[in-house]
Symmetry: C2
Subunit: 278 residues, 2 copies
């Protein structure tokens, strides 16, 4: 009997990509989306909606549907909890573990969510186990290639992101001509690139010099099964708007959403995408 | 005979503050400003203009004026060098030391500039030696006081800035409710606060929760004689516009420009200024 997979979905393109892949492979699946977050193309599949306040009931529902494996896909923000929605089972079994984790930061919260699903009897798969093509291995994916200056900027960006990892920050930085223009914080990659486009970019030491790179990498100890950094066509367009020469992602640690469209967008814009060994 | 001090001036309020202090103390001084950077109130003093390309000639001029001590004051950016301006002495004695330092980053460059002045026979004083009141010691300077949440945000911000110091970045971060909203990069504190005001601030996890803090601290090993982080009335106004609860500066490591006006601006806006032991 084939394993039934539940895609635990937030917003964005990843849930649909995984659904299509499972469909193409002829593997049964269900999609369950956190209330308030809309996966792209959700209209194509029946979507089980769930709320954190009734997470124990989701576990029961997935079990009824024969689900044995879950995969987390798509972006979510920490939801606010509505006490009126909480069911007794979630109150007794889930929230006593979840609420303390809420105080300990995003990583702790994700780890506890994973542990809750595992303790409810589900295995937790990484998206890359469903579709290995999502996480590219080392190489240059585009027609454009990084220059020596771009490689030096990538080294510097990697050092910055490494240092930020020690304080549970990071995943991204923009460096041009050896100077760090921006560091990814809570608002995320798109907000950082927008800031480079409109404000920070003018601080490049030599306006005619190297345009700089966006580097994305996971944090040390990041739970890559449920929280892998991601780039996609939108990232490429934002990096182009920020005037960057290219994007550097850590091999094995960053997901390339919609590989074909992402590489095409980079080739159109003349940007490189370099998958770099850490 | 009283020592003659040269204020080596960039832009901003500090050169004039030091000039007034030296005047008040009845100590002779001259002001020398890097071409392209205008110290506030420069019209009040005769200002010797100089360019990096003729730095050796500045040394001679200062010696002629009886200068034995220099103090660096005010903000400069790395200037571009115009080869046509270079005089033979600077070409032979100064640039062979300065140009390699240009490649090694801001700290290396500053250290070499200091060494050049010292080797030319001048002692290099910190601004705080001229006016000890510029660098406040630990305490809360304002009517408003940090809450427990603000203190926790300051701890987190200090950890972030410490981690950034390892990669020669930092000096500032904004943290609200334990979440890092922004990290200071090349564009500086004002640009970071502007970004929090217009973009990042909305990412505070609880819109009604703690408003967050700006923390400023020196980088480890920063050459505090010539490059001490600074806050002033403009910083307070920008922090207020960003919706922050207050400003935290490291005791002994951050300069408070125009103490009276800065504290008054904070009291007007209801912000705290907390000088924190590292």
């Amino acid at each position: 009997m084939s394993e039934v997979t539940a895609i635990i979905a937030g917003s964005g393109a990843l849930p649909a990509l995984l659904a299509r892949r499972l469909e193409a492979d002829g593997r049964p699946f269900v999609m369950a989306a956190l209330e308030g977050f809309d996966p792209d193309e959700a209209e194509h599949w029946r979507v089980e909606r769930f709320v954190i306040e009734r997470l124990a009931l989701l576990f029961e529902r997935l079990e009824d549907l024969g689900v044995t494996r879950v995969v987390f896909a798509g972006a979510v923000r920490r939801p606010a909890l509505d006490p009126e929605l909480i069911d007794p089972k979630t109150a007794a079994q889930v929230l006593p573990r979840l609420l303390p984790a809420f105080q300990r930061g995003d990583d702790a919260l994700l780890r506890e969510v994973i542990a809750l699903f595992e303790d409810a009897g589900f295995s937790v798969a990484a998206a890359a186990e469903i579709d290995p093509g999502l996480v590219p291995s080392a190489g240059i994916l585009t027609q454009a290639r990084p220059s020596e200056a771009d490689r030096a900027d990538a080294e510097r960006a990697a050092a910055v992101v490494d240092a930020l990892g020690a304080v549970d920050l990071g995943q991204g930085a923009v460096v041009a001509q050896g100077q760090c223009l921006a560091v990814e914080t809570l608002p995320g990659t798109a907000a950082m690139l927008d800031w480079v486009a409109h404000e920070a970019g003018q601080f490049r030491p030599d306006p005619a010099g190297a345009r700089g790179v966006l580097l994305k990498a996971p944090k040390p100890g990041q739970e890559l099964r449920v929280d892998m950094p991601v780039i996609g066509p939108d990232t490429v367009r934002a990096a182009a708007a920020a005037g960057l020469a290219g994007i550097v992602i850590e091999a094995g640690g960053v997901m390339l959403l919609d590989r074909g469209a992402t590489i095409a967008a980079a080739d159109d814009a003349g940007l490189f995408i370099w998958v770099r060994e850490p």
